[in-house]
């Protein structure tokens, strides 16, 4: 018990714990929509794309990097959204090219002009060191925004996620809602980037949602369970990261993966079968059946 309380004496750890918990919860919540829409790949691509902006802006206008990286992230999100809407065939390829190119640009900029190694590693794998008050405020703001969005547009989001074609006919503005979801996703990735890390954010979007899906058949319960699993992975992962001395993102993801294995063992194939179809890449527009 004492071992769990001791690290709380360090301000950096309490800050890290707060950020990790909130990040886990935030990614767990929004991950439900991402996973059910078959957009895991888009989440993965978007985090890499945001890294490019993060690197570029940090070098050229360090004081505005949150704002700059935010704009870059939102712009990439809307671009990806537009690409996946327009063409069903080739959307994956286009997203792959755009986001990996952006990531490569980020790596190049960091290597050429960047400050030494740690900042780079932190952005890739997450770190609890050097979390600023601004970052915490940003994360809290994005979490409140996401929660408000999910609550206020609950039914419309559910309808759009389950059945976009019928939702559109039933008076839901699917196009605007999808764009808003992409913006919220990019802000969530940006806000959790430093603690989880670019390369690991996608895992935290997927794991809690898949675990939740294995445990329930109800959408509302899936939202709650996924949020809790994400937050719990954040707390436990942060402690393990502190004791093991490894990047926070890696431990948070490993804890999530361990939870997945435990739930898999408990529910057996029954739970895993429920996740069938989640690996389909989303067709943001219903296919033109004839």
């Amino acid at each position: 018990m004492e071992e769990l309380i001791a690290p709380l004496g360090y301000a950096f750890f309490t800050k890290g714990l707060l950020v990790a918990t909130l990040s886990g919860a935030l990614l767990g919540l929004i991950g439900v929509y991402i996973v059910l829409r078959g957009m895991s790949y888009i989440g993965h691509g978007l985090s890499h794309s945001i890294f490019g902006g993060f690197a570029a802006v940090q070098l050229f206008a360090a004081q505005f990097y949150i704002l700059g990286a935010g704009l870059w992230g939102v712009a990439s999100a809307l671009a990806i959204n537009a690409v996946s809407r327009r063409s069903r065939v080739g959307a994956d390829a286009a997203i792959g090219v755009i986001t990996t190119a952006s990531f490569a640009l980020g790596v190049a900029l960091f290597s050429k002009f960047g400050t030494s190694g740690p900042a780079f590693d932190n952005a890739l794998f997450g770190s609890i060191l050097g979390i600023s008050v601004e970052q915490i405020i940003g994360l809290v703001a994005v979490s409140i925004l996401t929660l408000t969005f999910v609550l206020m547009r609950y039914r419309a989001l559910l309808f759009t996620t389950f059945d976009p074609h019928v939702a559109e006919v039933s008076g839901v503005n699917v196009r605007r809602l999808e764009a808003a979801l992409m913006v919220v996703l990019s802000l969530a990735i940006l806000a959790t980037l430093t603690v989880i890390g670019v390369t690991l954010v996608a895992a935290m979007l997927v794991i809690p949602a898949v675990v939740a899906r294995m445990l329930t058949d109800s959408f509302s319960r899936m939202l709650v369970i996924s949020t809790i699993v994400g937050a719990a992975s954040g707390v436990v992962g942060m402690y393990l990261s502190y004791f093991a001395g490894v990047p926070s993102g890696t431990m948070i993801v490993l804890v999530g993966a361990a939870v997945f294995l435990v739930v898999l063992a408990i529910t057996g194939g029954r739970g895993l079968r429920k996740t069938a179809g989640m690996d389909h890449h989303s067709e943001l527009v219903a296919a033109p059946a004839r």
């Binding site: 059910l36 609550l151 206020m152 547009r153 609950y154 039914r155 419309a156 559910l158 309808f159 996620t161 389950f162 059945d163 074609h165 019928v166 939702a167 559109e168 006919v169 039933s170 008076g171 899906r213 329930t216 058949d217 109800s218 959408f219 509302s220 899936m222 429920k274 996740t275 069938a276 179809g277 989640m278 219903a286 033109p288 059946a289 004839r290």
Partner: protein
């Protein structure tokens, strides 16, 4: 042509419309009107443009040329083909039916009035008691009724259904036909697509035969004739009269069935 009376207002109309996807034209020269109280079946082979015609009427597909007009403020509801649904989606019947009701408050809690509305519509459709089950755990007929319930919760004036009887058994098809007949008698305009000529189309008051254009329109007696059917399906079909109903015999299929034996 059908008799027209003053109380029949036009809910949707297509004038000289051509439509398709990605520069590929599926339908040409379509002139079609939907009135209140219509009960129409769109008949044709796969790929003939049945769903495209539905989408034009829904307004989710814009014509490539011609004009599509929809009555202002008319509430339209749509029941999709069961095959297009993600049955693994984590959702209960009540959650599914409720999603068509716009959220009235910022907090997404189901009000008791909404719960009663869902129960009433499920009861009316004969599937009360399944509201807390997962959608996959229903039979095909129950799944079809659940989507009908979701559509009816919008209190629509026009209901469009895409292949409502594909993949369901004979008794479910029969029940569905009756249910839709009752809804139509209550004043709901219904348009559905079907490829089932004897089980479905022959029982509807009005049919539209489609094969990339409108081949024929009228009552089953008017359009279920060998020339119209051949122009629609591209195969010779014989038509018999049995107990006052048209029965279509697909010669090619009958020949195949005999050959298989």
């Amino acid at each position: 042509m059908r008799p027209m009376s003053d109380d029949m207002t036009v809910l949707a109309s297509l004038e000289d419309v051509s439509a398709g996807y990605d520069h590929h034209t599926v339908l040409t020269d379509v002139d079609f009107r939907v009135h209140t109280c219509d009960f129409t079946g769109i008949v044709g082979p796969s790929g003939a443009g049945k769903t495209t015609l539905l989408r034009l009427l829904l307004g989710t597909l814009a014509p490539m040329s011609g004009t599509a007009t929809h009555a202002k403020g008319a509430r339209v509801a749509y029941v999709p083909q069961l095959e297009t649904v993600d049955w693994n989606f984590p959702i209960t019947v009540e959650e599914c039916v409720l999603m068509s009701r716009p959220q009235s408050r910022w907090w997404p809690r189901t009000t008791s009035a909404e719960r009663t509305a869902v129960r009433d519509v499920l009861e009316r459709l004969g599937i009360a008691g399944v509201s807390h089950r997962h959608i996959r755990d229903l039979s095909g007929g129950q799944q079809q009724r659940m989507f009908l319930a979701r559509a009816l919760l919008r209190d629509p004036e026009l209901l469009l259904l895409d292949e409502p009887t594909s993949g369901v058994d004979v008794s479910t098809r029969h029940d569905m036909l009756h249910l839709l007949g009752d809804l139509n008698a209550d004043g709901l305009a219904i348009i559905l697509t079907t490829h089932d000529l004897n089980g479905m189309a022959a029982h509807l008051p009005h049919l539209v035969c489609v094969n990339h254009r409108i081949v024929g329109e009228g009552s089953p007696e008017q359009v279920l004739t060998p020339p119209v059917l051949e122009a629609t399906f591209g195969a010779r079909m014989e038509v018999l009269e049995h107990l006052g109903m048209r029965v279509v015999i697909d010669e090619a299929r009958t020949m195949r069935a005999v050959g298989d034996e």
